[in-house]
Subunit: 188 residues, 2 copies
Amino acid sequence: MKKSLGARTLAYPTPVWLVGTYDAEGKPNIMTAAWAAICCSKPPCVSVSLRRATYSYGNIVARQAFTINIPSEAHVKEADYVGIASGRDLDKFARVKFTPVASDLVEAPYVAECPLTLECKLIHTLEIGLHTLFVGEIMDVKADLEVLGDKGLPDIEKVKPIIFGPETRTYHGIGGYLGQAFAVGKDL
Amino acid sequence: MKKSLGARTLAYPTPVWLVGTYDAEGKPNIMTAAWAAICCSKPPCVSVSLRRATYSYGNIVARQAFTINIPSEAHVKEADYVGIASGRDLDKFARVKFTPVASDLVEAPYVAECPLTLECKLIHTLEIGLHTLFVGEIMDVKADLEVLGDKGLPDIEKVKPIIFGPETRTYHGIGGYLGQAFAVGKDL
């Protein structure tokens, strides 16, 4: 038996990703985004939706670039903070003691303290409503050596990404291994 | 110290959502999608990226609608199976013993066995590359009574959504509560 909850943004999981940008003066900025996803395999792309009112919005339009930084659960407070404060008012990198690293590939900084970072070149902009969806082509993924596992790929249980639950506004960790994709279904 | 892993689709978490559609004959179909997200708050929207080659792609274009169905971890095998087989070859609903329910709001079926479902009307189509991004306006969210918690909202720990790790191709559960968003950062 299902209950109608109305037209709202309720779906799980949503990510907790930090969007890195430079402003007009070259000051690095980060903000938290949950309306974001991988959105194409070839070319590899991510989408992130931001409100036009955010400081990051103008930075992305001006620089045609952004980074996606995946914080570990140890940094849940920092990840939350940069979603509350605005880069218009302060240097959020300095405030949360994160280190901006200039990308060689795009005009945007990534976060040294995040175990996984994506450097993205803006290739599409889609106005939807309150949010604008930016599509960035992933030019490189960088991972901390400590989170690498089998085959040189990141181990999600070492990355420990944060998961956001919309509406209840809760953060959660990653849970146990459930099985191998494109494999467990074959048993059915 | 970060290692460059190249341009690839690596980010966590990505969702495991089932996209519900009708084909030209009215046969319900579902497929698994991980390149998907909430993408706008007003109007409430989700994006899902599909390859043109999929059966669901043509169904969405023809019906201008789809549903997003969030399976619980108990259905990880079913969720995986409908990402392997094609609706061109068989009735996937019947094969995994899922029950299609006709939406009253859009021309697409939702999955009775999924604890959370979103009925979506197609409002934008963006060709990116191998994948096409569809933006659907969320017309309603429906939840099983058993997964509702405080304030009548779904409890993510009762929904038990599945998380997909790209490249390693692994499924994971949801982990422990880490804190309240727009709140824990204020302690910093």
